[in-house]
Assembly symmetry: none
Homo-oligomer: 196 residues x 4
């Protein structure tokens, strides 16, 4: 019972942190504010984290790690290159729908020179990308010009940017639709795929 309470506390803390860091920025989201939003005592998170930066950073790594893990799972399905690309875009859109704050959090902090993804996690992601590229090469699907860095940029960064652009500027266009996803996928595939 005590265990469950604790897990809920930490969950709430993480959610509130992501929400407020997105809304106000790292500096603008105060520990007190986060604690109130999470219905937790302000001293609470010093039991789990060394400080505010450590907490936000560890949250960022966690979110990234989770994504890296998800990517690996797709690889294990032994689906084709094109299918996996599609599944990844699908997955990012799913997060955008189910947990938009998480996607915004990723967007904000991954474009900040004060936060850097841990080498280990980055390595995981690039290992995945390397294997994805190889998969594409095996089936002659991928444009040989495309590097891992390009995959990172076009598949991951681009998708996150596409969605956040909608959240931030083009919200007038309404909710993200299935057509939006198809359109993004069209663009991505157009760059990645080998021309005849």
């Amino acid at each position: 019972m005590a265990r469950i309470t604790d897990i809920n506390r930490i969950k709430r803390l993480k959610d509130s942190t992501m929400k407020l860091v997105v809304e106000k920025g790292f500096g603008g989201a105060s520990a007190a504010m986060i604690a109130i939003d999470a219905k937790v005592a302000s001293g609470y998170f010093y039991m789990h984290y060394k400080g505010k930066y450590e907490m936000v950073n560890s949250l960022l790594q966690e979110v990234f790690q989770e994504a890296a893990y998800k990517l690996d799972e797709y690889l294990k399905t032994e689906h084709s290159f094109i299918q996996i690309v599609e599944e990844i875009v699908d997955h990012i859109f799913l997060i955008a729908e189910k947990d938009p704050v998480k996607l915004k959090f990723l967007y904000v902090l991954s474009n900040d020179y004060s936060f850097v993804i841990d080498d280990e996690i980055r390595l995981n992601v690039f290992n995945f990308l390397k294997r994805l590229k190889e998969l594409g090469q095996e089936s002659n699907s991928i444009d040989p010009e495309i590097s891992e860095e390009d995959l990172y940029l076009l598949l991951l960064v681009n998708s996150i940017q596409y969605i956040n652009l909608r959240f931030k500027f083009f919200s007038a266009k309404g909710e993200l639709t299935h057509a939006d996803k198809e359109h993004l996928l069209y663009l991505i595939q157009k760059v990645l795929i080998q021309n005849s």
Copy 2:
């Protein structure tokens, strides 16, 4: 009668602000720190700006405005769609080389939910993109699927992300080269251009 406002002071202030906002984030770059770096009195910028946020924001708008103006100039040259796309990428690489801090500043703040580009400036940029799209359509160069938002994403956001990815992660790969620019241009043109 009295001293005349010193342009150099303001220039130094702007440069230091961009530099430190990039390095430490908006919250991490303190007014005192910026003032010292700019060799200016700590109270100095309250003569020109209402506060720290206003200053950084006005700087962001200024940088954006300058870019919007540059874009319009390219349009006036009456070059072709493909040429203009190339010139824009060229120009972004030029900034990356001559004033990398400015590009980082743009990168960091344009991916922050606390800073929003003024409607007027955004309108300028989208007017340009609209005309660029029309130019592409006239010559049947542009893929009809491409919208103004796509142009924004693929041409501008993507270029900035590409370069900052290098600054932030792949700095091990060394300086940006001519080949890097060609590669990016290849990717962009591949998405934008109409398939035969």
Copy 3:
């Protein structure tokens, strides 16, 4: 679970604030100075008050409210008009002796255009004065020319001015004595009382 709010800290804070506002004026009494004098952390009073002005103002209202309450108590004793006038002067002299800072604080801020007594409290005081006047009329003790405003001026303002004049200028005359009180009472009664 956590520490319980320390009443003494707040008491010390209030005392130091009154003392320093009297000595140096509202602007001259800095938050840091007050905190040191009260042996409290400099940020402490922002836990209880929104800012320096709010704190001093709330203190002023509190002191006034306390006085208004005291006045009502005298009315409830069912003593005569003349007795109550005497008791009020007595009471003011008592404060002058036991807590001179409080009387000085009242004096300084009630003569400042930046601080205004809350409507509710002023209403309380004037309700009291109205009933006091009625009491005087019932026993034909009060000069019919005397209005509530006059009672305010002559009974309250005058007494406070009388004592503070001594504190500020005529301190050479030494401590306030019983004779001083009798003299003031004589003056007040002379104006208030109905001539034969």
Copy 4:
């Protein structure tokens, strides 16, 4: 011509200072604010005064001195005690009408422990009061219980308080009228005059 300009500058400076000190308090009225209000350069008054405090203080002394001088003039008229009392109240009401800011300024600063009237000026005033008292005694008009301090309190302080109470609280009662003056005079004379 240069001379006239200068006198106007100083006049405007004094007026603005009084106005703003009344409205915002000594600490709240900044030098820049005063300078703007007076249409004068902010550095201007450091040509005439050592600092802000010196300026406000010298202004206060000046106003007081002017009053002391006026009082002496009334004495020279060889009017009766009662007449002079009336003329003083008249005069204070006249200031209230012609230059209310000056009266507010006097009110605010004379009730502030940070500003003290210069000994010399206070002496002038008390010499006047002494002679006024003697005048009253010669004609058996004044209550023998009344001291110079009482005259100060009842004649000067009281009048200023009476008017400022109207300005600050009872402004709903409208402009000061002739009847108001008569009423105040009635109260003052009632305390001061010897009962048959």
